[in-house]
């Protein structure tokens, strides 16, 4: 398969760019931040109308079945304007998991609602400060045809606006076996606490105190759970990389503009060769990120055996490059880059947060090496 966008994908990218640039410029993030609002329900509605919320959902369940390369293009454009939405957590990651593991009934109930944007389903897997999906201390104790959940989840994306959670738990008796449960946000015993992060988004901790879940809310068989979860997390990593790639490209282009316009010592700052070489180097890194993400996206769409290694490669490479891009941007914008009045700081803050989501450089570099046999 050619490593290139096909015509439909190019059209999608163009329409995504024009929609998101209009409906969610960086200035709207600033306004929301100053008003203390986390997200924009109107933007979410608009995204759903564009079909984005159902982009990876089968047509049978109201989706477009467009695939993950396409989802990456949407995330890239969202990254460019720092748009905040539950697309990644609900429409891409959780939807992929439900599509893989769900019973017909679960799919019928959950997927069309996700595709329409009516339902926001968040994945509650992580329990540690540094992303590690292999650590699960939350327990699910069987009690008749119910399970009782006790424990904590941390850094749950969009936890404050989700109406449904997919919760990873250890079922008693087999400590190594992780199972997934579909849990409504209003189930008794759930406490959700949110605090504001540097990127202005809310981050959620969830406490489960004797939360009772019907056995029919188990998602998938025991044996199928981990492979499907791993795939969903790979999807999260690649799409988070796509968001970072868009963010980094935009920061870079804004820096280039500034270098061309701004004069110092009587000449444009961009005429200084030392800055030119740094810009050229960053350009190369950004091109590599684009290729890496496209390659990993195709691997998901085609279900290739090297999917996980490519996903870790894409996230590790992009996380590193995005940090470089925002650091270079603030340094090259010089003093004004440090002021809140100027937008570039938002890129730096969001980059740091997106680097952590679904695993940072260290997590994915280590996984990449392990999968490579060293």
């Amino acid at each position: 398969m050619a490593l290139i966008l096909n015509e439909e994908q190019q059209m999608l990218r163009d329409s995504a760019k024009s929609f998101i640039t209009e409906s969610s410029p960086v200035s709207s993030l600033r306004e929301r931040r100053d008003r203390g609002e986390e997200w924009s329900p109107e933007l979410w509605q608009g995204m759903a109308e564009m079909g984005w919320a159902g982009m990876v959902i089968p047509e049978a369940y109201g989706g477009l079945e467009f695939g993950y390369v396409g989802a990456g293009l949407v995330m890239e454009e969202c990254g460019r304007v720092l748009a905040s939405s539950p697309l990644l957590s609900s429409s891409f990651v959780s939807a992929s998991l439900i599509a893989s593991l769900g019973s017909d009934e679960q799919k019928e109930t959950l997927l069309p609602a996700i595709a329409s944007g009516a339902s926001i389903v968040s994945l509650a897997v992580n329990e540690t400060d540094r992303f590690d999906p292999t650590v699960t201390a939350l327990t699910a104790q069987q009690d008749g045809d119910e399970f009782v959940l006790n424990g904590t989840k941390r850094h749950v994306l969009d936890g404050k606006i989700a109406n449904t959670f997919i919760v990873a738990a250890k079922t008693a008796g087999n400590a190594d076996e992780t199972r997934l449960f579909v849990v409504a946000d209003d189930a008794p015993g759930i406490t959700v606490e949110a605090s504001r992060n540097a990127d202005t988004r809310l981050v959620t901790s969830m406490q489960f105190d004797g939360v009772r879940v019907a056995a029919e809310n188990l998602l998938g068989d025991a044996g199928a759970t981990w492979p499907a979860l791993e795939r969903a997390l790979d999807i999260g990593a690649v799409l988070s990389a796509a968001e970072l790639s868009g963010l980094a490209q935009e920061a870079f282009e804004r820096t280039l503009e500034y270098l061309k316009e701004r004069k110092q010592f009587g000449v444009p700052v961009g005429s200084f060769q030392a800055l030119q070489h740094r810009a050229a180097q960053l350009f190369c890194e950004l091109e590599l990120c684009k290729s890496a993400i496209l390659k990993a996206g195709q691997a998901i769409d085609e279900d290739l055996p090297e999917r996980s290694r490519l996903a870790s490669m894409a996230k590790a490479k992009t996380a590193k490059t995005a940090k470089l891009a925002v650091n270079e941007a603030v340094q090259m914008f010089c003093g004004i880059g440090m002021t809140d009045e100027f937008d570039i700081g938002f890129f730096m803050k969001r980059a740091a947060a997106a680097c952590q989501e679904f695993g940072d450089y260290y997590y994915h570099a280590d996984r990449f090496a392990r999968l490579g046999g060293y």
Partner: protein
Amino acid sequence: MTNLEQFRQETRDWLDENCPASMRQPVKSDKDQCWGGRNWQFTNDDQRVWLERMAERGWTVPQWPTEYGGGGLSQAEAKILKQEMARIHARRPLDSFGIDMLGPALLKFASEEQKQRFIPPIIRGEIRWCQGYSEPNAGSDLASLQARADDKGDHYLINGSKVWTSYADKSDWIFCLVRTDFEAPKHQGISFLLFDMASPGITTHPIKLISGFSPFCETFFENVEVPKENLIGDINKGWNIAKYLLTHEREMIGGFGLLRAGVTTLGQQAVAAIGTRDERLADDGLRSDITAFEIDEMAFAATVERVVDEAKAGQGTGAASSLIKLYGTELNKTRYELLMSLGGSDALFWGNDEDTTVSKDWLRSKGNSIEGGTSEIQLNIIAKRILGLPS
């Protein structure tokens, strides 16, 4: 007993008697620092007493000449004072740009009359100073400054603006670079003026940074009248004073990262945050990056030590201030990147505007390599002045 041994004993006795107990606690936040000035509110009476007692002996500035109220100590005596203060964890009685920046320049460039007028209030913490150098459109090209002082016979009339003026909103006076010759090459038309921030025509407000509120201000001058006797040095020769001051500032900023390093190394912080596996930090990749950082940090600390010792021995290379500014600030940025990595998602916590958080400190560190002469400027200085590479 030698003179120095005697001095140590006397100093120790005096400190024991005169340093209030609450002034022997480590500085925990900005609020514990004493900046002095006309409007200063002492946080408690001990802070006032400690400043007054130290100022009376000239020990706010131990090595400045006694004729202006300084301590008049030799280098060896000053070192002993420092050691004895450290022994009882005595706080610095006065933090002051007057002491750290303006004073040394006045001692070198001001007239006798100006020294008599301006230095004693600095020593006693009666006037709080701020620095007016950078301008909104000048960036790294400091000498392209446009704030103007027009000669109106008995006074100058100041118009223009300054930016990055630390604590300008809390200061009493400013030392300020202004353009006094508009025809001359840019470095040769600059003068160094002192004036009262309460003068009519001055407005100032703090700048919000990406890390939240900051001590930095924007300051505007509209027809501000400044008496001519407030000119330091010769007219149009202010750039020499500016350069002298910048060199001092650079060393201060570069060394800053070091001071903050404290006793807990980054590796130890990582172990505390992440834990160990087989007695090693449980993240191999991060360990490898932290190791590279700590090696650099230790080699840099040795370099600062060597530079100080060389300067004392008169062996300085002249390269020191740019090297220390450049390397120290870049290291500090790396430290915060690694701190963010070892904190994981927790480190992203922002909280309320007044909270101090790792994420805010991390963002603040990005300014280190910009303020006081960017890293690029330091590289230019090293390449041209020290390595002698051609233009």
